[in-house]
Symmetry: C2
Subunit: 354 residues, 2 copies
């Protein structure tokens, strides 16, 4: 199977030998802390390292067992005051959490420049206030699109004016070209912006180390629900991440991952141009795992035929809360090899011709 569905790093992105040594070294360095119950906010040295990078007090940093777990806590805590406002399309797993909690949800369109902030303005002008805006501004899952600087500034101003924004940024460091834009969190000086990221894309997803930078009062409330959920997050993983950083592997490994994934993105863009130029349109992300393709056919039907030929992707409609994306698809270029990407796009092209 050639998978354009898996939003996961190719196996060679995982620095197996280094992580193995760091796991051992982390336990040897600080065993009785790492192996005991500990603070619900996570392994203190890693919280401090993250706090330093974001120039906040470590009390405002919470480590979770993957960042999705923290998104769940926030949805539970924040949606009594108003609906969740999400992008259309957006990451499908929070949509499932919202459905599970039977939350009110409003959707805002995404275009080439990311979240349509005009639509947000119009929503807010009617005097409405959501409980939370959930946005993935950089190399968005599923679209690969990045919010422009001008829109970031406008969104940050809304936050400063009282709109609570959850900025989910797992892909920001996985950039292949171009200049990094400031985060909403930075532009709003942290006011009413919750910043979320993880080490899934920069070290390993199986470690399940996500993190949140929160307003202090909210951090306390999230800690209360987290301690009743799991007492302490998985400390061995967090200490392993910290050891990886401490031993100086973080930046070189990230550079290596960028190289491995850029080749894949380039292979997919080249194959699409060759096979589907003029017959479809797609996003051209400067980083991350995904691109978004608009096709002249129903992608649910196409997926069934593609799977029969050994190629998978995720149909666009999975990323919409209330309809849409029926002729779109998310193509992950992170997992398959460059030659598989080449072959997989040829298969899709042949199916579209048939």
């Amino acid at each position: 199977v050639i998978s354009f569905a898996r939003g996961a790093p190719a196996p060679e992105c995982l620095a197996v030998e280094l992580i193995a040594a760091c796991a051992r070294d982390a336990v040897e360095r600080d065993g009785t802390t790492v192996l005991s119950y500990g603070p619900v906010g996570g392994y203190a040295p890693l919280r401090e390292w993250i706090a330093d990078r974001h120039a906040v007090d470590p009390k405002r940093v919470l480590l979770t067992n993957g960042s999705l777990q923290g998104v769940q806590f926030l949805l539970e805590l924040l949606l009594s005051h108003g609906p969740a406002l999400v992008e259309a399309p957006t990451y499908d797993r929070p949509l499932k959490q919202l459905a599970w909690h039977a939350s009110d949800v409003e959707t805002m369109p995404v275009d080439e420049e990311g979240l349509d902030v005009d639509a947000l303005d119009s929503y807010l002008e009617h005097g409405r206030m959501p409980g939370l805006v959930y946005t993935i501004p950089t190399f968005q899952n599923p679209s690969g699109r990045t919010l422009s600087l001008e829109r970031r500034r406008r969104l940050a101003q809304h936050a400063v004016d009282g709109l609570l924004v959850l900025e989910d940024d797992p892909y920001g460091l996985v950039r292949y070209e171009g200049e990094a834009l400031p985060s909403i969190f930075e532009l709003a000086n942290g006011t009413n912006v919750i910043y979320s990221s993880s080490f899934s894309k920069t070290i390993s997803p199986g470690l399940r180390v996500g993190y949140f930078v929160l307003p202090e009062e909210l951090a306390t409330r999230v800690e209360e629900i987290a301690v009743s959920t799991y007492i302490t997050p998985a400390l061995l993983s967090q200490a392993t991440v910290m050891e990886f950083i401490r031993q100086g592997h973080f930046e070189p490994n990230l550079e290596r991952i960028r190289g491995l994934l850029k080749v894949r993105r380039d292979a997919m863009l080249a194959a699409l141009e060759r096979e589907l130029g003029g017959r479809a349109t797609w996003s051209r992300p400067e980083g991350g795992y995904f691109l978004w393709i608009d096709l002249p056919v129903d992608t649910g039907a196409l997926l069934a035929r593609a799977e029969a030929m050994g190629v998978t992707f995720v149909r666009g409609s999975d990323f919409f809360y209330d309809g849409g994306g029926e002729r779109s698809a998310r193509l992950a270029f992170s997992f398959a090899s460059p030659s598989e990407i080449d072959e997989g796009i040829s298969v899709l092209s042949a199916l579209l011709r048939a």
Copy 2:
């Protein structure tokens, strides 16, 4: 501070060097699996090992980030059909989860032989059916008490007749003397019994590896909610546990832990007899971490005075959903050293004389 509050193993129970080596070996053995996203039910070899011990299909075993996380899933899934029926006293964290979810809760008394099954009979005879009975039958937290064989048989029969029972058994293997009793799960042949345990007391709590053995249909439903919560549990910890087992450390380490903790239990029982004989009554657990003491004073007021003298415990009332335990306390003997235990009980005794 001498802590009779911390329900945690003494640091010397943690096999730091062995676990460090196993963490490295686990990643070296199976790195691309351990470091990637994986099945929501957890690391397959460990699921299989647990399934084998409980003579069930591995599909029925779910590993979670600590067992409390799984209790939360079950409460969310099962309490739409009826109230949670819990012991009084019981482990305080599930009580907080129940309060958070605003669930209906009914309580059943615990006596020297554990859950009062006569009270349960009477509850059920009125035609009522809870969504779930939550019980800790062996070395109960907080009372240290163990459900008798006769009551286990009666509870298992209720399960066979349709009552859904969650049997939480983290302490069962940490037995210092006496014969192990069969689990409710075994007596009911698994019918309508969810068995829960973890490696927190047998290897390390910081690893956060809990597990559940579930009826197959319920396992599927718990997996759905788990995947939307955290995608995959923390695999590094689970693979480290499996490596520890594979290298033959599990039983010898457990034997070592039993020895270290038996000395502490014996020290606490001896100190209580010496200091408080005739002035208080307490349980005499054959294993686990805790004993329960009934005193002639309000333990909330006693706790404040004890903390001022550097001794902590948990007051009994924290373990009751709807009142009770005001003159009782939970004393953990798992964490303090034997000499600290001796000194701490002397302090409590002096305060009770004052």
